[in-house]
């Protein structure tokens, strides 16, 4: 659609505002994989309630907006094996790298963090390679 970039910018500003709120009020970096991963492996036990509250907001607020918004379909593949493989890769990769698109991307780049910039370069590279192989060579993605 023609105006998609405006929605991208508006949504992006909201994501930035959410990261600003979490940083200035709670003193924490808003990274989705870190907030969830700390609960999964127990490393974030001391801040479990705060993490839980963040994740609850993330899970329950978007469906409230769905009726107002045209986007309701995630168009995710119906190939269960691909989904499992991708989920495992995302889970392991974000924990090894200690961050994902929100922590390394949004919060890291804006802090001019070397690790954030390097991580972003390599996950974009990983995504590009996955599409070259999976879509253009194998035709499965």
């Amino acid at each position: 659609m023609e105006q998609d970039w405006i929605w991208g910018l508006v949504g992006g500003l909201m994501i930035g505002a959410a990261a600003a709120l979490y940083l200035l009020v709670n003193g924490r970096i808003m990274g989705a994989s870190g907030i969830l991963g700390g609960l999964v492996d127990g490393s974030g036990r001391n801040s479990a309630r705060e993490r839980g509250a963040f994740l609850l907001g993330l899970v329950v607020v978007p469906p409230m907006l769905v009726p107002l918004y045209r986007q309701v379909d995630t168009h995710i593949t119906t190939n269960g094996w691909l989904i499992v493989a991708a989920g495992l890769l995302v889970g392991v990769g974000t924990r090894l790298a200690n961050g994902c698109t929100s922590g390394h991307g949004v919060c890291g780049i804006s802090r001019f963090s070397l690790r954030g910039v390097v991580a972003t370069v390599f996950y974009l590279l990983g995504g590009g390679i996955a599409l070259v192989i999976g879509r253009h060579l194998l035709g499965v993605v």
């Binding site: 940083l23 995710i76 090894l96 949004v106 780049i109 390599f122």
Partner: protein
């Protein structure tokens, strides 16, 4: 208070992801697919999120404590190691295959169908497995002299 602001931040994050189109896997793959029919929308999402945060980090640097009195997050030492590079490559590959990264996967959990639920379960399993994978990776890497320890240039410190 901490939990309320965390809830609001999570909600605002999720709403932003939805409006920006980050929960649409086809759109995300269209952006990552630089050799195909490239869709630039998500560059606006990242830009829109990063620009205000540059100013916010400047404000944060002047404070010792957050508004609720907890210490501001410390900087990691600017060291690029094997786990950062390999982990990011693996994460990116998974992101490209399914079109979901952790935030949008959680944000679309209630309306993303069985595929979205399966993705989140697999992601959680991967996170739970990682602590036991670390020592194996270390052992594999010991023989190689691929030492990826880089010092940061001045601007990134």
């Amino acid at each position: 208070m901490r939990n309320l602001s965390a809830f609001l931040s999570g909600g605002l994050f999720g709403a932003g992801l939805l409006i920006a189109g980050m929960v649409d896997t086809v759109k995300v793959q269209g952006w990552l697919d630089v050799f195909g029919n490239w869709d630039p929308q998500l560059a606006f999402v990242l830009g829109g999120a990063v620009l205000p945060m540059i100013i916010v980090w400047r404000l944060a640097a002047r404070r010792e404590l957050s508004l609720l009195g907890s210490p501001m997050p410390k900087r990691f030492p600017p060291v690029v190691d094997r786990e950062l590079v390999l982990g990011s490559l693996l994460f990116g590959a998974g992101w490209g295959i399914a079109g979901l990264c952790p935030g949008p996967a959680l944000g679309s959990l209630t309306f993303g169908g069985w595929g979205g639920v399966l993705f989140v379960l697999s992601m959680v399993a991967g996170m739970a497995l990682t602590p036991s994978l670390r020592p194996i990776l270390k052992r594999l890497g010991r023989g190689s002299n691929l030492a990826l320890q880089a010092e940061a240039p001045e601007v990134l410190r």
